[in-house]
Subunit: 344 residues, 4 copies
């Protein structure tokens, strides 16, 4: 069985484990106040070309999203997200558990447009009873989205403009940021991204680390007392240096990006193989998640040897699945999948 | 200026004030542990023909909804509501402020169907990742809805069946329950309603009291320790007997229902007057809220003498407004409106 | 049975009810946007001699406290209070239900000193692990306290100085503010109080209104979007003018203060009667709440005709009770109590 | 510099890292649904001699405590803890952030007695206004406590009896459980502990793992839907097998206990060295945390070569510090400390 169902099926890139071994018996202060975390923060600031950024390391994505949103909002405020956004669907109400409403906007491709944001803003402030409704105060997007789609630089600039006009903070969930930035379809650099939002995350878990997310804060409001918020959310890892060591290993010479680029390439190989054989895709993804639509009988045969994630029934006889590559995917696994496709 | 914009523009029915005067200097225990509240609870139980019901008195609707929902749900659970439901839109996130997600379902007429509920339930439990999503545990409806529409007895029975099958509690927000029960289109009695849900409220504020909602609890889970929950929500009125005195005055001889019936009659008079003159209504309401669609020029003229609530722009030249009658509406105000309509 | 157990056993001063009658059928906008509320706000600002204050009207004290504290704090911040403070003990965890810790300080007389506040502040910031602890950000006191005791002007100035030095907001719960200000032992005026804190409340419920608290906000942070917070807390009364009408009746010619002064006088009459007969008091209260310590046999006899609140067992044979006078207490009730004392 | 300031200064026991290496490229399902977690759960159940226990793996202690407490309590309920308890002091209000009050009891040695618990219970239910106060519903203790002290079997049995009598759940925070169970002063076995509480944790982070806590649930109420709660708290690790692999390595042949035993032995060596030289200890700890009281001049000299945690000023010239041994402490570090003590 070859698993394409997610991008967290294996452990970590070998270099990560080697570094953990090498540094294992060194004694360091806890709670990310060690020199590895300090160095990793510097790597992030250097890569973003902005020495003024604050960088925090958390364990997982739900925690990271909940912490930054809780830090940003007052009690009567909510966060705008696509209806398919991770915080709106797949975090068991973590945002609500801290008291905040997710204000959802329908979205076919998983993206929010500047127009969407302006409309939510205007609908709120244009209503004479707006004090009876949750006030939009932050915009949540992910790059890439849950559907593998990407914001172009222009789209992000336009969205950022809308946020500035409307007084909204902009947060970019980058759980798969590497796969996004290294996509052939991405015209956005990391420094550009960093300059266009108030906060964003750089995901490690799905990109070759054992675990870990770097949260980058640009806005002063978010920076203030943020370590308290992390602690309150159970995100201040006692052996915080584990996060520092891993991010150092990933960022010191671009391993994070190299791994993502190769995973994207393999994902596009899979996409093209499906499309060339007449199987369309559900979303126009150029990242490591692909969503081919397959006849059910073919899917059943493929699933004898390969694991995919069910996405949705497209009609009575066709199903869309999600196929992920990752930092750990090997060329021969991709070849095996395409061979199987030709055999059926 | 004659105000039709809401059903809480005046104070209270004269009998209410008279009773407050008569009982004013009597000394009673606080926090609704007085004999007026006791008697009012008995009136509610008698009217519902169920001596086993618990009855609590709260000040306002948002508080009542938030308290009963907080009492019902565990942290990972949410409440299903129509997207236009009061808790989903007009309570400034009170439900979320206590940690819970409102799971919304689009609805044209403001009602939830048994099918809607079954679908939410099946989508949740049928998804292998359901532990990553908020678990539906309660259904919130209002009778009548925000659109003035009503559930028939059969609809409510079917909905109740779906709730029982799916293990969901059913709560009916009755902020305007009197207007609903007394509508010419309603085939549901109060005892029937009480028998078909786990909790419901009987609104006083919009039905002729100064303020006050009776919350009726049938399910043992909800009954347990509910006064603590009311206190935590700031809903345990020190001079609780004010609620008891008012509900006694309203329920002892059916005043609550008589006032609602007359308001409904006047609302239908207005609706028919608009329809007969060729102005359609946005929702098929048979209760005290009516939603005529008017040409903008006509609306502008009417608004010189009458206050309505803006509802929505229907097209470039037409607007739907909400017109409310209430326990305080006089026949001559309705006549003045219809006369004005004929004049324009 | 004559009730001295609390100050909310009766309805409201006659003038309140008369005004509600007189204004009853007037149509006004809802949610405290009417002209009565506007005028009542002006009365408050005039009495405080500060036109820049924001004034909001809420229904009850728990709601008022929870709303202003939720508006003031970020998620990792807490509010300092005496261990006997109302928010620490008697609000069923309302503050915690909105996510905040009450940081308590032991206090014999119910008051917090400037030294207490500085110590909490220094303990927090002086601890290298302070990010693992709730950050103090607000100070809650009540005037008078739960024990009937009062802050002098000098004490309040010193406390305010400590708050400013430590970057803490100061909130004064004035559920019984009138009884405090009119006490023979009070050297603090309302304008002085208003100038020495960031927010305070003027309680109506226990001072002769049916219900209602005025919350006065001085600090810009608290003012911002406060109506949203009130709505989220279920505190935005639909018929908000009921609050405006009542506060107008109370404040227009000083009735609020006259009633309080008389209640304080009667309370001191009771205190002195006990003391002159050799019964000490538990707290040095000069306000409407008195705490005599009585032999249990005497207490049992008195309780045949009079209702008190149990406060605490002082030893095996003595009990402290709370005796309240109020705006509604009559001289003859006080005389009856003293006569009974002499008889036993 | 030799660090004795905490028990999480190093990485992990070598076997842990080796196992992560060996299993690194295996593909497994995410979110702790893999076979390593399954096996680790079985190890826990076997060691506890109770096949009916549910076992969940979380990343950190604050998260674990917050999750089990949120799962246990209804909104108006609180958890009883010693005033020095971790949840009361060192979790930045995580318990409150989910809406619950920590009901604290002063405690000299960090332990709660059965009498403490009965008193809180009786004070609550014996007060006629108990609905105005947070209802105690759970007891939180830690074994060992924050002060290194231990509950004997008899003490735990008595406490359990009080909890059962009072209808309170009992949760034992075992962040350092191994150090507790293997202490020379502990007469309690793991199966006995498991049989005497409703939930407890087995800490990994401070006992030789990179990170990870096993939460063991015995009470049916807590078991229900617990994975949802973990996800909501950000505790459902994507690569959950990392927790399974580590706990397998620790529990398969008793490494967890062997490491703890040795750390306890070294800690007692340190304690005795101090005591023999006339330096008393602040708490009677027989576990890996020791609290000697030192003259300030001696402390200053020792701190040139050794890192301790400041605990408290005992008087103008003496300070109590915390000295931790851990699974990673070497005999020669202990010898160096004692030698230094003799030198000064």
């Amino acid at each position: 069985m070859i698993r394409f169902e997610c991008d967290y099926a294996e452990g970590a890139h070998e270099r990560i484990l080697r570094r953990l071994f090498e540094t294992n018996l060194e004694q360091t202060p806890g709670y990310s106040e060690d020199h590895y975390c300090a160095r990793a923060r510097d790597y992030v600031r250097d890569l973003c070309e902005d020495p003024g950024l604050d960088v925090h390391f958390l364990v997982g994505g739900t925690q990271t999203n909940a912490a930054v949103i809780a830090a940003a909002l007052r009690p009567h405020q909510g966060v705008i997200a696509a209806a398919s956004g991770h915080i709106a669907v797949h975090e068991t109400g973590a945002i609500e558990s801290y008291g905040h409403k997710v204000l959802t906007v329908p979205s076919g491709d998983g993206k929010l447009s500047a127009l969407d944001v302006r409309r939510v803003h205007e609908n709120h402030w244009g209503d004479v009873t707006h004090e009876h409704m949750v006030q939009p105060a932050m915009v949540y997007i992910s790059q890439p989205t849950e559907n593998g789609t990407l914001y172009t630089r222009e789209e992000l600039e336009t969205l950022r403009g809308a946020c500035l006009d409307c007084g909204l903070l902009l947060y970019v969930d980058g759980a798969r940021l590497g796969y996004g930035l290294m996509s052939e379809a991405c015209d956005l650099t990391l420094p550009e991204l960093a300059g266009l939002c108030d906060a964003f995350s750089i995901g490690g878990t799905k990109q070759g680390m054992l675990f870990g997310e770097a949260l980058v804060l640009a806005h002063p409001l978010l920076k203030r007392d943020f370590r308290y918020i992390v602690k309150q959310h159970g995100g201040l890892l006692a052996k915080g240096r584990l996060l520092g060591v891993q991010f150092c290993a990933m960022l010191e010479d671009g391993l994070y990006f190299d791994l993502a680029k190769e995973a994207d390439r393999l994902a596009m190989t899979i996409r093209r193989a499906f499309e060339e054989r007449g199987f369309p895709v559900l979303f126009d993804s150029h990242t490591n998640q692909q969503y081919p639509i397959l006849p059910d009988h073919l899917l059943a045969e493929l699933e004898e040897d390969f694991a995919f994630s069910f996405w949705e029934k497209v009609d009575g006889e066709h199903t869309a699945v999600r196929i992920c590559t990752s930092w750990a995917t090997e060329e021969r696994a991709v070849k095996a999948l395409i061979d199987a496709l030709d055999r059926e």
